[in-house]
C-alpha cells in the first residue's frame, strides 16, 4: 500500500494559474486508507479550493469501491465514459493519490496536465485505521527469510546487512531515542524462533542495480519478467 499525505492547501494553490479549470481526482484504495484522497477527502478538497477562488469544474473518485486509481483500465473507463464532458473541459487534474495514480491519470486522459495533490511517502502496512507504518523498502531482492521476516533495510537506519553497528543505546537506534534498533528486533525474533545461526552467514553487498528506477514487470506465457538495470529476472510460476 502506498502511503500518501496531502500537500498543504497553500502549496496546491500555488500550482494553479489564474482562471485554470481544475478537475480533482482521488483514489478509493490506498489514498482512502490514508485519508488523503478517498471520497470525503476529495469532496472536501474540491470545496476548499472553490472557496479559495479556484475554478473547480468537478471531482471524482473512480469506483467500484476499493479499486486503485493506478488500475489504468478502470480509471480510463470511468473518466472517459462517466466524466467525458468535464475531462474535455478541464485544463488540468489535481490528483489526490500516489505518484503511480497520478501518472495513471495522465495516461487515462491521453496526456492531460496533472498536479500532485499528495506526497507519496512509503509503502506500508495498515496496522489500524489511523496508523500505517513501513516494513518494506521495495528493494527488489527480499532477504527476510534470513532475518525472521523483518527487513534490515527498512528497520535499520543504516540499512546494514550483517548485524548492528555500535550506536544503539538501551535497544534504541542512534538516530532517534524512540526508535528500536532494527537489528536488535531481528536478533530477538531469530532467538525466539531458535534460528540465531542465520546471523552467522555473511550477507553480500546489495545489488543496487535492482533498485534503479524505473522498473517494470511483464507477464508472458506464465512467465513473470522483472526488468531493472540489473537485467531481466525471469520466474515461471507453474510447473
Amino acid at each position: 500500500m502506498h502511503a500518501t499525505i496531502q500537500k498543504p492547501v497553500e502549496e496546491i494553490l500555488s500550482y494553479f494559474k489564474s482562471g485554470e479549470k481544475v478537475f480533482v481526482v482521488g483514489c478509493d484504495n490506498c489514498a482512502a486508507k490514508c485519508h488523503s484522497g478517498g471520497v470525503p477527502e476529495t469532496e472536501e478538497m474540491a470545496r476548499r479550493l472553490k472557496k479559495r477562488g479556484v475554478d473547480v469544474i468537478g471531482w471524482c473518485v473512480p469506483q467500484p469501491p476499493g479499486v486503485s486509481l493506478c488500475k489504468l483500465s478502470n480509471t480510463k473507463k470511468v473518466l472517459q465514459e462517466e466524466y467525458e464532458g468535464q475531462i474535455k473541459e478541464a485544463d488540468s487534474f489535481l490528483v489526490l493519490a500516489c505518484g503511480q495514480g497520478m501518472h495513471t491519470v495522465m495516461d487515462a486522459t491521453d496526456g492531460g496536465a496533472v498536479h500532485p495533490g499528495c506526497d507519496t511517502i512509503f509503502g506500508g502496512e495498515t496496522v489500524s485505521e489511523d496508523f500505517i507504518t513501513e516494513y518494506c523498502s521495495l528493494c527488489g531482492e527480499c532477504i527476510v527469510e534470513y532475518t525472521a521476516g523483518l527487513c534490515p533495510l527498512s528497520l535499520c537506519a543504516k540499512g546494514l546487512l550483517n548485524g548492528p553497528c555500535g550506536g544503539a543505546k538501551e535497544g534504541k537506534c542512534e538516530v532517534e531515542r524512540t526508535r528500536d534498533c532494527g537489528w536488535q528486533l531481528i536478533y530477538e525474533r531469530l532467538k525466539a524462533l531458535g534460528r540465531l545461526d542465520q546471523l552467522k552467514d555473511y550477507k553480500t553487498p546489495k545489488n543496487f542495480a535492482k533498485w534503479n528506477r524505473p522498473r517494470s514487470l511483464t507477464f508472458k506465457e506464465g512467465e513473470a519478467i522483472f526488468k531493472s538495470l540489473a537485467g531481466e529476472h525471469r520466474v515461471v510460476n507453474h510447473d
Binding site: 546487512l161 548485524g163 553497528c165 543505546k169 552467522k200
Partner: protein, 292 residues
Amino acid sequence: MSTLKHTLEEAVFVVTGEVGPPKGVDLEECLDSIEKIAGHVAAVNVTDLQSAVMRIGSLAVCAKLVERGIEPVFQLTCRDRNRLALQSELLSAWSLGIENVLCITGDHPVLGDHVEAKPVYDLDSVQLLKAASSLNNGLDMTGHELEGKPELFLGAVVTPEADIPELQILKMEKKIEAGAQFFQTQAVYDVPQFESFMNRVQGFNVPVLAGLVVLKSSGMARYMNENVAGVKVPESIIREMEETAKGDRKKKAVEITARIIRQVKPFCQGVHIMPLGWDELIPDIVRSSELM
C-alpha cells in the same frame, strides 16, 4: 610491515591514540597535538568525519602524519562513499604510505551538521573488510586483477558494553572471517563486563585494544551519553567527576583513565585512548598506568 602490526605480533601491550581533524584547512594545531602524543603511542587514529560533522579528510591528515614519520590508523567509514570510492580510497591510502585501516560503519548523518545529506552505506563494515582483504589479494570486489596490490593491516570495532554482547560477538566473528586483524573497542567503563566479554572472544586469537575516552567533566560525560553513539559513562564515574574540584579535573581524568587501563590490562592486548582535546594528558596516563 606497519609498526602497529609488528608490535601486536610481538605481544607487547600496545597504546594507540586518536585525533579528530578540524573543520577547515588549518592543520597546524591538529598536527602539533599529534606530535605531542606520537612518542607515547604505537599509532594515532585519525577519525573520518566523526559524528557526521563535515571536516577535512582522514586521508589528508594521515598522509601528513606519514610525512612526519608518525604512524597513522586511517579510519574509513561506510557512511559517505559507495563501493567504488571505498576501494579507491584504500588504494589511495596505500599509495600515500598508510598501512593501518579501521573499517567502520560510521555515525548516521542525522547526528551531524549536514542532516539532509544522503547516507550511502553501500557496504557495511563486514563487506568493507572483505573488499579490503580482496584488494590485499590483488583483486577488486568484482574479481578484476590489480596493477600492484596493497598490504593493508585491517582493523575493526566492537562494542563490549552493547546491550546484547552476543550480537556484537556474532558480528565480530564475521569481521574476522572477512579479514579483520585487530580490534579497537568503543569506550570501556565496566571492567567485569569487559573481562567477561574478553573471555568469550579470547579464542578468536585476534588482538583487542580496549577503548578509553578521557573524561573532562561530568557535563561532558552526560553530553556524550545523550549525543555520542556508542558511549555509555556509568553514574558512578559521573559522580566521581562531579565531586572533583574544577582545578583538579585533569588530574582526575588521568587517574580514572589510568585506573581502567591497569584493570583491563590483564585481559586485552592494548588500549586505544581517545583524548578528545586533552592530548597533553596521554604521557601522564601512560605513565600512571604503569605500562612502561
